[in-house]
Symmetry: C2
Subunit: 310 residues, 2 copies
């Protein structure tokens, strides 16, 4: 016996899923939010947020709590609920740790995760010196030696940010030129930090805590060990698109879900919002998209097919 | 002598323009926000807002003040500054009450205004019983007789809302069927309010204050006068697209600015966000679009043309 049918299942309780929940609940849709970890998404792990309109500065946990309280006045969030899509005709069947549930419409708000280098020491030292978010963890490395890995705009921004808060920064990139914005490249160069080009990270070293990084120069083959208290990896993000893939939803070349301006995907009844759709990965953008997705789901559920069958 | 050149001029200080200002300021763009009235846009006139994520309930003026304080920590808002575009090559020249100013990029966040019926008494009794926003002004008509004019979802929502707060509602529509969402139609029918179909408003009547409305049935030609303390007109919105038109920016059939997912318009250097771009007219959607527009303007200004010429 399946739970439901719900009008709407929202997968993910970050800013996109939360805004979708508020709008769906207010619209009177029987809605459930399924979150594989804690509600809040990447917001929860952000120490300080300064670009959520109306809040000059707020901690990630505080903003998450505000979202959560608001959402839960309308709909339920089920945390630690890793889900899988197990079937769909007009109804979507989802397996959860508590059993199967059924919903008439779906919003995918599963976000994206940081791409890893896949080298020895990365996993064991993650959270012990190896990080994927300078604005989250940079604070702990004030006045210390840090390495930034990558050549895109995010890597350049991390380097500038870490320099500004007082780290001694080395920037390591596997190519001979950066890919990131020109202005950021110029800014990085003006700061006189070490730019270690044509170089791969081979290993993160350290026992309990990161204390060095093994590098290899791709041109000369030379292997170099540098001291580092922190290492910030910025080599891209991977959308969490498993559910989209099992539904046959159309993705772009990087694996992000393709949506139209109503946040509808290529599969009727399936909507998406937030980082999993690519674009600008910002809280307020994700929230706006969540509001649109919920409103579009409401419109979808007002089709005669649903209103006649109840 | 013109003021500037600014990196970016944002026209409109509602949620879209405010979010754009925060993001532009944080990105280091030399930015000015030009607002024809008071900062805040339609938010200022909303008594209560319940769908801005994180705030279960906040007054429009309070939310506006929060936005404003945040924006002004980064960029200047110039109020009561009705502007006009007077020229552009790569730079945009804008006339303001204080003289001309020049900017390298432009974000149009001018919003939309409520469509009027254009009948006698409408202008003179506006704000004296005639209103365009039930959630703004409904409160004043508790327990009184009100008329809602229109047949779309907004009109249906107004009728439900006003009924719920204790008004005696008559709904007047010029066609024989409503256009709005089916569920809202059913809801309206379930409330047993007067539905006056095939009927036009001919005149709003009253001296100091609305006290009646003259209606004409289009099928029978019959003219009817009904008593009304309030009348809520919900017959659509008109995008404020004057600046877009003078720039030759591509508009859709209803006059909204066409944008891509980066909020870029058809004219290089011109971006748009919020209600003037159509779509879902909600604060959080406008704010998300403003953040995207500012980020896209930043990218545009990082092109070699601008960084080389300073």
């Amino acid at each position: 016996m399946s739970e439901g049918p719900y009008d709407l299942a929202i997968v993910g309780a970050g800013p996109a899923g939360s805004a979708a929940g508020i709008y769906a609940g207010r619209a009177g849709l029987n809605t459930i939010i399924l979150e594989r970890q804690m509600a809040g998404g990447q917001v929860v792990i952000s120490p300080s947020i300064e670009n959520w309109p109306g809040e000059k500065e707020i901690s990630g946990p505080d903003l998450s709590m505000k979202f959560r309280g608001h959402v839960e006045s309308y709909v339920k969030i089920r945390e630690f609920s890793e889900v899988e899509l197990v079937g769909h005709d007009r109804l979507f069947t989802i397996s959860t740790p508590e059993g199967e549930l059924v919903a008439k419409a779906l919003i995918i708000a599963t976000g994206a995760e940081h791409r890893k280098l896949g080298v020895p020491g990365e996993d064991t030292l993650s959270g012990r010196g190896v990080s994927y978010c300078a604005t989250c963890d940079g604070f702990f490395f004030k006045g210390k030696d840090v390495l930034v890995v990558g050549g895109g705009s995010t890597a350049l921004l991390y380097a500038i940010y870490l320099h500004n808060i007082g780290c001694r920064v080395k920037l390591v990139h596997r190519r001979s030129e950066f890919r990131g914005e020109k202005a950021l490249q110029e800014k990085v160069r003006s700061l006189n930090m070490d730019l270690i080009m044509d170089t791969l990270v081979e290993e993160f070293m350290g026992e309990e805590q990161l204390d060095g990084v093994k590098l290899r120069n791709l041109t000369t083959g030379e292997v170099l060990e540098v001291h580092a208290d922190g290492a910030f990896v910025a080599v891209g993000e991977i959308p969490r698109n498993e559910i989209a893939r099992s539904l046959g939803v159309k993705l772009d070349r990087e694996g992000y879900i393709e949506v139209d301006r109503k946040m509808a995907t290529s599969v009727p009844g399936v909507f998406a919002a937030g980082d999993v759709t690519g674009g600008l990965k910002q809280i307020v953008v994700a929230a706006g998209e969540g509001a649109i997705a919920a409103t579009s789901a409401f419109d979808y559920l007002m089709e005669p097919y649903w209103t006649e069958s109840g």
